[in-house]
Amino acid sequence: MAIASVDDLIAGFNQMPPQFFHKAITPTLVSGRPQSSWGLGGIPGGGSFDTTLAGVALSSSSALVNGQIPFYNPSGTKLSYLSLFNAIFSGVGGRILLVDRLWHNGGFTITSGAAQTVDSATFPARDADGATSGKGVLLGVEISSAAGAAAPTITVSYTNSAGTSGRSATNAFATANSPGAGAFFPIGLQAGDVGVRSVQSLTLSASWLSGTMNLVAYRILAEVASPGASLGGPGADALRGGLPRMYDGTVPSLLLYPNGTTAGYLSGQMIVAQN
């Protein structure tokens, strides 16, 4: 059943225990540029990356994925909704995103300027509608080991959520020399698109010289502000957050948009109502 009332919401509390997270954000940060906590240690422990260009779909249904904030499918016909997400960044504050990590890959030749064929594995049925079409699914390039002193443009060729192939977009934030592990470069969408169904290729405009990069497909579940070091904004509770659906197999993880360069820790909790 869906949560359609305050009583439904209350009945849905405690079906899945609250999940606490506390991650050290240690790489050098760049103000305004996203940083992923996926590979970093703490609570939960760090995750890993796939090493194939086709990548792997990610799901917590049979077992948690290393690196994810724990999520457990509801029993029976119950549905899951994010009922609270609150978080702070102790460094300089920023914006903190809770995302569902649907797919990631590896195996790119970071020194190549040629189009590298990806032909991504089918994304899990966790787009904005709980389907595989890709509505609301975005892409980002995550640096898993520090890249070299270059700043290439990243171009991704993809099929959009309407099934139209040959779509193309580039990094929404400029790349920079020597981005550290965890640096995350969101990829835009071609005009008119609302999401990504699959990825066909990735091209660097120039060699990034060294390091390792990975492509990630994700859907944003919630976003909260940390207006200053260790300050939290109003959390994304059931009313403020809009009760976004979390589909079976969700792999929650965090993206930080820091307000400055001071390292710190990312700390908070995620609570899910299931009814």
């Binding site: 305050v6 050290a24 070091a229 300050l231």
Partner: protein
């Protein structure tokens, strides 16, 4: 029975218990601190003096007073309020309301050898009300100020799935001359969901002097707020009513945000039964 309606949650609210804790200064910016061994309300708690430690079940001095719900009722967090007394004391939410399952003592702070710990079975108060340790984490609390060193702390543990030989380290760097109440959370090894038991602790270097204690805790609720002197107030809806199990030993950890002046943390805790 379980609370499934707003009316039941309101009807089940129990008396509120005030939290008043005096915070001494000189804490490092960015670390957590524990209210466990501070006074006056609840009164200051103490630590065990053995490496194996003791499992904790209410009543325990130092914890927010606790009564198990009667009959078939279950207990939940109904309301939580946390406020620093002054903007300049450096103390601000985030604060963690936690259930303290175990703590120990007797750690040789000058030794760099692995110090064996055979922790007793946890009370059945992990995140699903069992003793397996799911959602149970470890923290190192300083109970007497440390020497001028910054060791890395490594803990060997068995995870909540029963797999031994797992290791975690302090997530925040150990401050030199860490003040009492300094609290360092210990990381989980990749893939782990919690700690079932502890086998050893190792310091990478001598911490010279002072007293440290390992604590196993389950975070119940994480409170944040937008400014340094306002109250952080959570109710049955905004706190999502996390369950509190029989025998809970509740206490608060605070976050030292900026300055290190002395002050106080004020607040209140209110469970609901149903």
């Amino acid at each position: 029975m379980t609370i499934t309606t707003l009316a039941a949650a309101i009807e089940g609210l129990r008396p509120s218990y005030p939290i008043i804790k005096s915070i001494p200064g000189n804490h490092s910016i960015g670390v957590f601190g524990t209210l466990w061994n501070l006074s006056p309300q609840p009164p200051l708690g103490s630590y065990d003096a053995t490496l194996d430690g003791v499992a904790l079940t209410a009543p325990v001095t130092g914890a927010i007073p606790w009564t198990d719900p009667d009959g078939s009722n279950r207990a939940y967090l109904g309301r939580l309020e946390i406020t620093p007394s002054r903007a300049d004391i450096g103390v601000v939410v985030p604060a963690i309301l936690a259930d303290r399952l175990w703590h120990n003592g007797g750690i040789d702070v000058t030794s760099t050898s692995a110090q064996s710990i055979t922790s007793p079975t946890w009370p059945a108060r992990d995140e699903v009300g069992q003793a397996n340790g799911r959602g149970v984490f470890l923290a190192l609390e300083v109970s007497a100020a440390m020497g001028a060193a910054t060791p890395t702390i490594t803990v060997e543990y068995t995870n909540s799935d029963g797999v031994a030989g797992r290791t975690g380290t302090n997530i925040f760097p150990a401050p030199s001359s860490a003040a009492a109440e300094t609290t360092l959370l210990i990381s989980l090894q990749a893939g782990d969901r919690g700690v079932r038991s502890v086998q050893s602790i190792t310091l990478s270097a001598s911490w010279l002097s002072g007293t440290i204690n390992l604590v196993a805790f389950r975070p119940v609720f994480y409170a944040v707020d937008t400014a340094t002197v306002t109250s952080s107030v959570y109710d049955v809806i905004t706190a999502c009513m996390p369950e509190l199990y029989d025998g809970s030993v509740l206490y608060v950890m605070w976050h030292n945000r900026s300055t290190s002046n002395a002050g106080a943390i004020l607040g209140s805790f209110q469970p609901t039964w149903g």
